[in-house]
Symmetry: C2
Subunit: 434 residues, 2 copies
């Protein structure tokens, strides 16, 4: 990888997400050599991916060049690559661009979509964990409308105008709300030749309430908000299959749709090479102790979504979201320096600052440790928290400007099919009428 | 195409570029049915493509949804499709989504890159006429730098850090300037492990001056500006081949480069189906009379880059740029209404407002009909003219904000490889050292 060998110990970080970047910032110009690896050359602000998918923001506004984060740092390297395997025996990372020895290894590879082994669903539905995936969703939504205009077959048209979100977590809820707003703000005006009332948004949740990691009060409020936007919520329904056209469930609900977005499960984006006992099979997360050390290793750490630190308060590990990732990354930065200097490390304690979700214009739910509220004020809180969490002044400014514009104009100008999405299978339009 | 037949005459416009959009705006809610066809669902502001390619602007800032342009118009349709052929006999447009009868047909398909028949150059070099192409260039530039970091082979490294622009027109000049600024503003800081002085930018021009459609004063000034930025200009040199690695020329200049951007020629993006005598072979432009009527037809028109209206002042037709396109589109809007009402049409007269090009920060050249100037003031003129020519308030605001930020911070944050560009052939890195 063309990294010089120096007298300093080398930390290799795999992944430039919230955890990896928080750690990298802590290790700037310290007495360690740092190599950060990522398969993208940018950090993604994942909480706003749904706005890229629904044309409210441009991809560049929620991405930040990783090389800029580490600009001016001494003995700090970035390499654009995919890690294939870890060789723990020889302390080496094996990647597409070569091998790299590590003294300390930090796995911060995050999470990916979990289809629970259903290959058919994986093949036909969309997931939204990366910017390219969000852009694919954006293209597909718009392509389906362009197709709907053409067909005279009413069943076909209906399927093209049906949008199904599987999973009632924040991603599913936020996407459902954004789609409902697109219906009113864009599709109704852009497609006068379509009966826009035929556009339906379905949110399918296997449990008995949506946003089930939040308070019941927030679940109820978000459900009320979604209903007011016209979203159809199906609770206690589990999707069993999707063949690119028909969604089957364990109830008697069956829907026809050209667009299924799967947000029903996440799992660790685990790297190969760790012994079986270090990884929790079911969710592919890595077992770590209170110092984020991987079970069985002194010098391998895992932080963020990929790490499962089981504790009394969090028997399943911390929730897979930005806050635990950032806090673990920051603490590990301090701990690595302590470790390198032979000092004792500090155990991680999660400071739960609360969680929030936005449903639409003036509609959000916020759970702070002591207060739970929703509506307009919650929406402003949501906006400001997200705005200030973005990296970089320019991204903050551009996102703010877009939000103000979209708010005032009830519009989303990012309805651009820059790279058409080639759907793997949806009944081809054979009608000679189109 | 699912377009209703009404009693109104139907105008079919092929292409939503400057000409097509100018015409469409004129025909809003008039006594004609209008169908606008384009292979993209957005209008592209082509003069700023080079800023997308070099990370200064996001794609969405220079694109505008076509459906938004025609929002609220009565009996006005947009269809996303590629036109395969025109059947002049039966007055039909044959497209990928079906056939469509026209009463009036307007061809506004613009221009595409002209490789003058050299397939090898076409295969290996990049062109920049569309947003996806610009994004490909952006990805390739950044990928080459990521590769350059890895290789220890100095020849390879040099080739990856060499950028060759073929064609000394505005696109080549503006790209050369932007790349030179990226060198200082970004690459120097982002790639501390590279000797950035090895990055070279070559501009190759077959004629004896660059910007040869502008005044000699502007040519000289732009050459001086490019020299000051470190761009190497080769005049009276014609590129004869590029195999993905080596650029051969008709002189003894030979360069090794992984990135060749070809801006040396444009030709009409002609549609099939017109009789041979209507098309000028050499440049694939359509012969039109002073009313933009295609030679041999009363009801077929061509406007913009694709149209060649030969006149005393412009024996080769008007220059292929935005101004003639917009003016022809606007006049044709009036003329079509006159034609439909049986009135006489008005002949086109080009009002040359001048031309300009920007080379870099504070460096631009402007030729107005009476004044020619360059430097800081020209640069501000260039900026304001381009800012105000963008469609839509939000695009204007976002571009302005980006420019202010980039200017103050000497930065371009769009250095994101969102979709990697798969280069067709560049010697693979087989070194085991990488």
């Amino acid at each position: 990888m063309n990294i010089p060998n120096t007298s300093k110990k080398r930390v290799v970080i795999i992944g430039g997400g919230f955890a990896g970047i928080a750690l990298a910032k802590k290790l700037k110009n310290k007495n360690l050599q740092v190599v950060l690896l990522d398969k993208h050359n940018y950090h993604t602000f994942q909480p706003l991916l749904y706005q890229v998918a629904t044309g409210g923001l441009e991809a560049g506004s929620i991405a930040y060049p990783i090389r800029k984060v580490i600009q001016g740092c001494h003995d700090f390297y970035f390499r654009l690559t995919t890690v294939k395997e870890i060789d723990t025996q020889n302390q080496k990372v094996i990647s597409e661009i070569g091998d790299l020895h590590y003294d300390y290894l930090v796995i911060a590879t995050g999470s990916k979509t979990n289809y629970f082994g259903n290959k058919e669903i994986e093949r036909h539905s969309m997931s939204m964990k990366t910017i390219p995936q969000s852009l694919n969703i954006r293209s597909l939504i718009l392509e389906n409308f362009e197709q709907a205009v053409l067909t005279k077959d009413e069943t076909e048209k209906k399927a093209l105008m049906n949008f199904v979100l599987v999973g009632g977590g924040p991603t599913g809820v936020e996407l459902a709300g954004a789609l409902a707003e697109m219906k009113k703000a864009i599709f109704q005006k852009d497609y006068p030749d379509l009966d826009i009332q035929k556009m339906e948004i379905h949110l399918i949740q296997s449990g008995d309430r949506i946003l089930n990691t939040m308070t019941e009060k927030s679940s109820e409020a978000s459900e009320k908000f979604l209903n007011s936007l016209g979203v159809k919520i199906w609770k206690n329904v589990r999707v069993t299959n999707y063949d690119g056209r028909t969604i089957s469930t364990n109830s008697n609900l069956s829907l026809e749709s050209a667009t299924v977005i799967w947000t029903a499960g996440v799992q660790g984006a685990c790297v190969h090479g760790l012994p079986a006992e270090s990884v929790i099979d079911k969710v592919a997360r890595i077992r770590v102790n209170a110092y984020n050390q991987v079970k069985g290793f002194e010098n391998i750490f895992a932080i963020g979504d990929i790490a499962s630190m089981e504790s009394e308060a969090y028997p399943q590990g911390h929730p897979m979201m930005a806050q635990p990732a950032i806090q673990q990354g920051e603490l590990l930065g301090d701990n690595l320096m302590k470790l390198a200097e032979g000092q004792l490390m500090q155990a991680f304690e999660y400071n739960d600052k609360g969680s929030m979700a936005t449903i639409g214009r003036n509609l959000a739910v916020v759970d702070l440790p002591k207060y739970h509220f929703n509506g307009v004020f919650a929406w402003f809180v949501w906006m400001f928290v997200h705005l200030f969490s973005l990296i970089g002044f320019k991204n903050k400014a551009v996102v703010f400007l877009n939000w103000v514009y979209n708010y005032i104009r009830f519009d989303r100008e990012g309805r651009l099919i820059i790279r058409p999405y080639k759907k793997k299978s949806f009944t081809t339009f054979t009608s000679d009428e189109i």
